[in-house]
């Protein structure tokens, strides 16, 4: 493990250690620890996985396997604002593809991608459960519904200046 990362993120690793201590004696501790680790670091870099492997005394392959299986865990850092376009059925039949296309055009990255300035990450997400507002996008915790493609520019601009 590169010592510099441990040094630079001393506080974060201390917090991770607390989490590990809290869950390690429970049955099936890995998922709650990974959730918390991602909350602390924003993503799950290999150094964090190595740290957890050592602390729980399980092979890193197991951790890597779990971290890459679930779509919510990410090994890459994300943008400040995560834009999720709901691609659930209700949104899809009401035209969410056109909304997604407009967003790709507007911020210039494909779904799964992050802008160079790390301001936006674009994602095509699973059903957000707000089908009454279809089509829906979520920017971090803010929900925008009943959208048409021409709404997108103005919404995105709100997060540009912040």
């Amino acid at each position: 493990m590169s010592a510099s990362i441990l040094q630079e993120n001393k506080e974060k690793f201390a917090e991770l250690q607390n989490t590990i201590d809290e869950f390690k004696d429970q049955e099936g501790p890995l998922m709650p620890i990974l959730h918390k680790a991602q909350e602390i670091f924003g993503h799950l870099p290999i150094e964090v996985q190595e740290y957890i492997a050592k602390a729980l005394d399980i092979p890193i392959t197991d951790i890597y396997g779990v971290a890459t299986f679930y779509s919510q865990f990410t090994l890459q850092p994300k943008g400040k604002y995560s834009i999720g376009v709901c691609m659930g059925t209700a949104c899809y039949v009401k035209g969410s593809q056109a909304i997604l296309d407009e967003l790709i055009k507007e911020i210039g990255v494909q779904p799964g991608g992050t802008t160079e300035d790390f301001n936006f990450t674009l994602e095509a997400t699973r059903c957000l459960g707000a089908c009454g507002l279809a089509p829906v996008i979520m920017i971090n915790d803010d929900v925008y519904g009943r959208l048409v493609p021409s709404d997108i520019k103005e919404i995105v601009n709100k997060y540009r200046s912040k």
Partner: protein, 598 residues
């Protein structure tokens, strides 16, 4: 006890929350304070009222005034007019909630609610889900008391068996039998799990139960623990449901404080506790063996059954696993008896079913109807029909595992067996309505795209087979379909169904097979005539300018991002098809409706 002359119920379900109900709540608080009404008017944040389409929804009792699409700006008027002066603000009421003479209808007279029967959702939109006292006031935890103090575990299982309740998660397995298998399994430790990994796109009934009535699930799981001999429960809930996770956490804390979870419940020897486990975005984890692997902290991959979870489940121990909506029915069955429950529904499907009604429908939302209600009743009477006077084409049930039901079957009474017979399935209860503008080949492709993405990759039929099907569908929607493609899809589909490891793979071909069955002509039109009649598949579209109505104003030329349009001013323009990217920008700009796609 405090007494309030009026109650203001504000929906805090996900739909209304997303459309701004939290702001409405805050504004009510300040406005009530401004008018010194805090001690006279009670504000309650409830779970989902069901009619998400017109959210945020606010209901004021005792009048039962049903205000719809309320924003913070409307709140001062409701407070000063209705709450202060007693004059209902009729122009803010939901249009179907007043008679012509301006007298308010009671909720069960409103079209949306008239045919509904709310059992699983009984407390949603009625109580404050964050206060255990309100749940208890509505007979909460009474069923648990009855089971623990008056019934043996065997009697409890017998009641569930006799009720005829079947699993609401999709497959419809008899719940009582599952309980019995788990109770009879040998093991020093057993687990009771709740599957709250609601992954079907367009389904949000479990979410609404968890958000609107979390204690009903805790109570039912505790009863199940008593019946099967378990002292530990897990709720596996999607991490994408933050409100549900939050309310469950509050509910578990309150139940523990009140001694309704923990050691020696109701002073008996029975102890039971519940923990939450968060999913991390894997659809396959709704499959029971995959869910169990995920609770154990592993990759959520399914394994062959038997052994069934009732014998070998979480950490290798006997495990009872039911879905949220199934649990939500349990307390009432215990309280009212199995005969009461059997009196609702059809011969082989008892009770009610919650559907998440979405897509091209006027009243998007959550509805609960007795089994045996027809699609026509749900779509036209409860759902208010298709918007903009368009024509119904199909209803999709069962999500990526289900199929599309055409207009011919609108009068089929819906239950587990009738839906299977017409090539769909109940699934968790997503019901997406599609109209003439939806392309059935594209919808089949949409679902296959979903399954290919969510396939865990363990078994080849699902991993490779669904991918091959998707490739064929992609070709068809791009205008590169060939003779024989339909037959290939049918054969692949049949083989995947019979050879995949788990429910995800075994049902993945359903959306394709059912659309081929009912809408074969659309597939043929895509393949032979290279036409998408619904106008969805971009590659098959041609955008053209009709010379007659075109005045040569040039607006389309300006709008075109790729300079595909040419023409002299005041004479008809044309589109160069080799340049056109079919974005439709010109279509929106033309003031003379001279541009058409098809």
């Amino acid at each position: 006890m405090e007494f309030f002359r009026s109650h203001v119920l504000i929906c805090g379900g996900t739909g209304c929350h997303s459309s701004g109900s939290a702001d409405v709540m805050e504004t009510f608080k300040t406005e009530l304070a401004k008018n010194n009404l805090e001690n006279e008017i009670k504000l309650v944040q409830t779970g989902c009222f069901g009619l998400c389409e017109v959210g945020p929804v606010v209901i004021v009792y005792p009048e039962g005034a049903f205000y719809s699409r309320i924003t913070s700006d409307d709140v001062p008027r409701i407070v000063s007019e209705h709450l202060l002066k007693g004059r209902i603000v009729t122009d803010l009421l939901y249009h179907d909630s007043i008679h012509e003479d301006e007298i308010i209808k009671s909720l069960n007279e409103v079209g949306f609610y008239k045919k509904q029967e709310r059992l699983a959702l009984r407390n949603c939109g009625v109580i404050d889900p964050e206060r255990i006292e309100e749940y208890i006031a509505f007979d909460g935890y009474k069923a648990l008391g009855k089971a623990l103090l008056e019934m043996t575990p065997e009697q409890t299982i017998d009641v569930i068996k006799a009720s005829g309740l079947r699993g609401r998660g999709g497959a419809g397995f008899p719940t009582g039998l599952k309980w019995e298998f788990t109770a009879k399994a040998q093991g020093d430790k057993k687990y009771v799990c709740c599957n709250a990994d609601e992954g079907d796109p367009g389904a949000f009934m479990d979410r609404s139960v968890l958000e609107g009535d979390p204690h009903s699930v805790l109570e039912a799981m505790t009863i199940a623990g008593y019946a099967v001999g378990s002292d530990q429960g897990y709720i596996y809930v999607r991490a994408e449901y933050p409100i549900a996770v939050n309310r469950l956490t509050i509910a578990i804390g309150q139940a523990r404080e009140s001694g309704l979870l923990g050691k020696n419940i109701f002073g008996t020897d029975f102890s039971f506790d519940i923990e939450l486990r968060l999913g991390a975005g894997a659809f396959v984890c709704g499959e029971e063996t995959a869910l169990i692997a995920s609770i154990e902290g592993k990759r959520g991959e399914p394994r062959p059954r038997p052994p069934f979870p009732a014998v070998k489940g979480v950490f290798g121990k006997p495990t009872l696993l039911n879905n949220v909506e199934t649990y939500a029915n349990i307390p009432q069955i215990i309280l009212n008896g199995p005969e009461w429950f059997r009196s609702i529904g059809t011969e082989k499907s008892k009770g009610t079913k919650v559907f998440a009604l979405g897509g091209k429908i006027n009243n998007t939302g959550l509805v609960e109807v007795p089994m045996g209600t027809t699609l026509r009743e749900i779509i036209y009477e409860i759902g208010g029909g298709i918007p903009k006077g368009k024509k119904f084409k199909a209803a999709q049930t069962g999500g990526p595992s289900g199929g599309c039901i055409p207009a011919d079957h609108l009068d089929t009474p819906i239950d587990y067996d009738s839906l299977a017979q017409i090539g769909s399935m109940m699934g968790s209860g997503g019901l997406i309505v599609m109209d003439q503008d939806n392309c059935m080949v594209d919808i089949a492709r949409f679902f296959l795209d979903f399954t290919v993405d969510e396939s865990c990759g363990k078994c080849p039929p699902c991993r490779i087979g669904t991918k091959r099907m998707l490739e064929i569908l992609d070709r068809i929607t791009k205008g590169q379909g060939e003779e024989g493609d339909i037959e290939k899809l049918e054969e692949l589909g049949k083989n995947i169904k019979s050879s995949a490891l788990c429910g995800l793979g075994q049902t993945a071909p359903n959306p394709v097979l059912s659309t081929i069955h009912y809408f074969r002509d659309e597939y043929e039109a895509h393949i032979r005539d290279k036409k998408c009649t619904a106008g969805v598949c971009q590659a098959l579209l041609q955008i053209t300018i009709l010379p007659e109505p075109c005045r040569g104003c040039g607006l389309c030329k300006k709008a075109c991002p790729v300079d595909a349009i040419s023409g002299e001013r005041k004479s008809p323009h044309t589109i160069d098809q080799s340049k056109c990217i079919k974005c439709g920008a010109c279509l929106e700009k033309c003031p003379f409706k001279a541009i058409v796609k098809g």
